[in-house]
Symmetry: D2
Subunit: 390 residues, 4 copies
């Protein structure tokens, strides 16, 4: 069932902001296309208008809908009868805040890459703006959209493992294990604090791991003790971090994130233990959830067993009989969820609550609170408060 | 780079044949959409014209392009300036032959689900028709499109494991472990020999496993000794098979396929051994290829290491940094390959040879030769010739 | 509790036959020592008496108890007040029959390496001799002594997976992947049919895999269709085999065994499926048993959960908290089981029935029946009867 | 080759201290027996002399060599011509120091369970005593004796992964996930700080994980920031710890140890990353070492490939063809190593340096330094110095 066609009689019209080069543009566009709920109608693929037109043509945009700035896109699209409904922001980190804010101010729904902003202040301004506007805001903490991650969240929420006691998070990548920024990546915004934010490794992957822990456990981080460092000699930015974390409800644990693990690959994983059992998940084998049980044998939960999975997991699963699903499908699930919310907003009908449980600006602000607390702890050598002050 | 937009100035126009209900329709449509090379323009989603229109609307087809038969679709589309370029056939097995043949006769390129036909004779007629017509024919032996399967094929072809000596194939699914055909699936065409072909289990999954072995090893089956049986009491059709197989070049091995393994899931895997090493791959962990080496340690090949993979594997990989890919991406790769061939045919420019190495009608005919030999062996209790006679 | 010390007031006295060189001697001796139930008292470590004395000294035998032949050992030990109670036979395959027979005729209990004999006739003579004599006979099908293998047997026996339908066996080693017999192993008895029996690969590892399947399933093979071959060019003996197998009770399946898989290691595994679920075990990870369930998630059974395991598995497990156990411990469990039987025979008290469920001569005879049926099938190209005729 | 028989003409005579009840006694005794280098000659199996005799009889000790105290054993054994050469201490933690000290003072070689002592001061006194006496002292950090752990140490030492940058340690057990000390284990010394030392979880398993990291990396911990807590409500002792660790040479990382992970099993693992690659090992699959490589594919190192492994790994491996080895074999390897040192001391000939690389008192003292630093950090909420001051 294509709910856009059914409920709106048309697909949602999406404007891209960024993604003209690099890895993440195709990921967003494929995600938008996968469930056929969006039409990619317009885009800002370069700050140079001519280049934007050329890049737009290569992905099928009409020449008059490829723009040189988000301001230009908003202005022109607003003037059209068939203008965009929403934007997807996938620019360097420091651009997320101003662009998302402009889109919200123009009344557009927003899908935004993480981290939400490069400072907690900016993040909180977006949170308030989203609340005031009533617009849809989906932050692409994409790992939370894997069926088995949603299953884990549902199991914790329903008390399957009892009170959560220990939360362990790791994200161990290898692509920055050498001084890549000395060579071809010399101008990569990821190594430039002005464009990527104050902590390279926390902004890039630490926020992912943190959100995963929070999403699955249903807890929030209260305090952290952090070690941030550049493990590659000659590197200015941090590439590795270890954190001790105290979570609401009394759970504790650690987090290790790095993208300088030589020979490492994806390496995102969580392990939770509660009173009655534990859950473990690894992104490299995303379709398996290990459920350890106090008085029983370990179980491997997969998508095979219909009826035994939580509705949120069933809904996120796409293919039958255990055929493997991956990163792109999970990313698309966030687009589908966001579409559900956008359609609900337009029709006035409530959407499926299961679908509406996607990461939003408040989750992004919590990520920034963690980053800032970690930086403080790293400076002081002691515990820092990581709570999102209301 | 979107080669359809770049070389044709437009997407290829696809007509669907089947897929109005069931598992495989959405798989094909998503595959067609994933790389944005096709526009789903028309379709036969039901033999009842009104139902076809309703089903077409739910997937975004214009009412006048949802047809009640492939004949009607061919006739009407031919009359349009913007008629379809190709069809995708995803009907019950016994319909593949007539529908694919009609499409070819109408000069349309074809993407066809497996098995190619329900008899070797029909299969060979399609092979000849494809050869005569020069049209594109892509058979969706989708497992061959996984990056690591293509890597395995390239490694065998380049002599990495030396002469192939042993080939072991398994496909162990569980969804028919009970007498499902006595209940809700009473009219499922898969249990009706008239619609699914002479062997349920070989037609459904045996041909997949066989093609996988042939694709990776570069060898063809010469003789088989087979045991086919219904392992579930009360079942009329076979659901399990074990085969001894002799391959060209002297390799030998066995194949075990079943969809009646209680509690089983996907379970497709191959293990090959040659003079100098071995290769092992499991669909449940599709992004890993185990390479055993006579004088070295076992290696786990993944998509991380650019430059170290064969071009065919690099081309089939979509996401970076080891993010997992799955079934749907592999399926889409066949659509992308077929698109490459269709565009090459239209432009007269040769396509990328790496992309053009997709399964075609001749591969399908080899599958039918295997099925018929297995049936013969099962009857006689001895070896049967499985070669495709030219 | 050391039942030898407790019930006999002393350890059992063991005489070794073979094991002066090669891999298996230390394995047997360590197995005998592990639970402290045996004293290694005498031995025939070479057919040259002086060499036997030297070899005996290196393992702690008194000079006057290291013999040049089993006849000499039997004669001399019988004359001592503290003579041996039992022998352990670990000579080349063709010696098992005469030596085991001599030991039985001398009234000694026997632990014997597999295969039991090199012909079914000899095997059946041993079976009858064991029955007549009432002596203990333990055949070291050592894989059956792993805790998780015994767990699997108990689960099948108690109906946990329902009627067994499919049995798949593989044993894929790599140490004969090159023509080793052309070099340093030129005189290795394993490549000499006169000393190893009519099928190298079936005698060496096929009988292990076959017994494992029979032990776990509680079924016997009724008929086989076999392919036996030398996969390494220039090799005279077979090194690879694939068999189709029909088991009592209607189960069917295949077996693949080879020691010529280049880069392969141990590779022994079984997969069973019954009406309600399946069991899978791999020797390389011997402490895990995968239990697939028709209406439930897959479980990983380990030794952690006391009370949830079958008594036979609990008894075979040695270390707590999931610390890994391996090959040597399983081997030792057979020695412990045999000791239990020997002590029961001596004391007249019944031993623990759980401990007494070890492989014996009849199991060995079934192995020979399989080997002979496989050879026949390989010659005729059709099915052969593999039943043990009573 | 039995080096005790060959070089001494007899086995080493061992006196047990402890192990009359509980898990670890049989582990030590089996370890002593496995390679046939020791004779278990005497023992203190209870502080009650009559009970000690009874317990001694059940393991084969002569009645006059089962003592009620280590003092009594030392006195009586010294008076015999065939008195013990060495003791093995396996009492509650707080007894290790006095008993090991008494043995050293009596001129006996010592094998001692970990932790070495319950205070750093005591530990350092043992270090000095060992140095002065020249006696053999082997501390049973048994995980360091696995072949693949020794392989990892050798690879790091030879620069295979370059300068070590990140060290991650986890040990996640589950047997204390409930308030076991409220029930049957009410008098278990492990929950009594007076008998087990100041930190239950660090003394019990934290020292193991720490030593494993130090052994493999060849680095020492310089500073720690620690969180220690009781995760089970009502528990007085700690059962969980997370530590940030700074290692010599600039490596950093974290450690997570707990025995309160509900449903958890053994769970000991390390992951190291250096400039050029990484190494990963898990005790549950002890025969595999994952070697990630910066410019190559990941390799799985196993014991199969003779000549490709470091001598220390080859020496520690016992069985061929990849047959699995486990916990008990690794434990026995420490006994074998200690025997090598004891024989070298007695004969005056240098032992095999590869064998002599076993954990000793200095390693134990480093463990106590870590424990005390972690306790200090836990109190102060900041970094604490963990170096062993000379």
């Amino acid at each position: 069932m294509n709910i856009a066609l059914e409920k709106l009689g048309r697909r949602l019209r999406l404007g891209l902001v960024g993604g003209g080069s690099g890895f993440i543009g195709p990921v967003h566009r494929t995600a938008a296309r996968l469930d056929d709920l969006f039409e990619i109608s317009a885009g800002v693929l370069s700050s140079d208008p001519a280049r934007s037109v050329a890049a737009g043509r290569s992905i099928g945009l009409a020449a008059d809908r490829a723009y040189g700035s988000i301001e230009a896109m908003i202005r022109a699209e607003r003037a059209r009868g068939d203008g965009i409904d929403a934007v997807a922001v996938m620019t360097p980190n420091a651009r997320h805040f101003p662009e998302a804010m402009m889109a919200l101010e123009a009344g557009l729904d927003v899908i935004c890459d993480k981290p939400l902003a490069t400072s907690l202040d900016d993040a909180l301004r977006l949170v308030r703006k989203v609340e005031e506007s009533g617009l849809v805001f989906c932050l692409t903490y994409n790992y939370s959209a894997y069926p088995m991650v949603r299953q884990a969240r549902a199991m914790v929420a329903s008390g399957e493992i009892g009170e959560v006691r220990q939360i362990q998070l790791v994200y161990v990548q290898g692509h920055n294990a050498t001084l890549v920024e000395a060579g071809a990546k010399a101008n990569d915004w990821r190594f430039d604090p002005a464009r990527c934010g104050p902590s390279l490794v926390l902004g890039d992957i630490g926020t992912h791991a943190h959100h995963l822990g929070a999403f699955v456990s249903g807890r929030e981080v209260e305090a952290v003790m952090a070690e941030l460092w550049a493990s590659v000699p000659g590197r200015q930015a941090d590439d590795s971090a270890c954190l001790l974390m105290r979570w609401s409800g009394g759970a504790r644990g650690a987090m290790w994130v790095t993208n300088a693990a030589a020979g490492g690959e994806h390496g995102l994983a969580f392990r939770l233990f509660g009173e009655k059992g534990g859950l473990e998940w690894h992104q490299e084998r995303p379709n398996e959830l290990r459920h350890r049980r106090l008085g029983g044998f370990e179980q491997i939960l997969t998508r095979r067993l219909h009826g035994a999975l939580a509705p949120a997991a069933e809904r996120a699963a796409r293919v039958e009989i255990g055929h493997p699903e991956g990163y792109q499908e999970a990313f698309a699930t966030l687009y589908r969820d966001a579409a559900e919310a956008m359609i609900a907003r337009r029709t006035g009908e409530p959407g499926d609550p299961v679908a509406l449980d996607f990461p939003t600006a408040a989750d992004g602000a919590r990520g920034l609170a963690l980053v800032e607390a970690a930086l403080e702890s790293s400076r002081t050598g002691g515990w820092a408060d990581a709570r999102l002050q209301p």
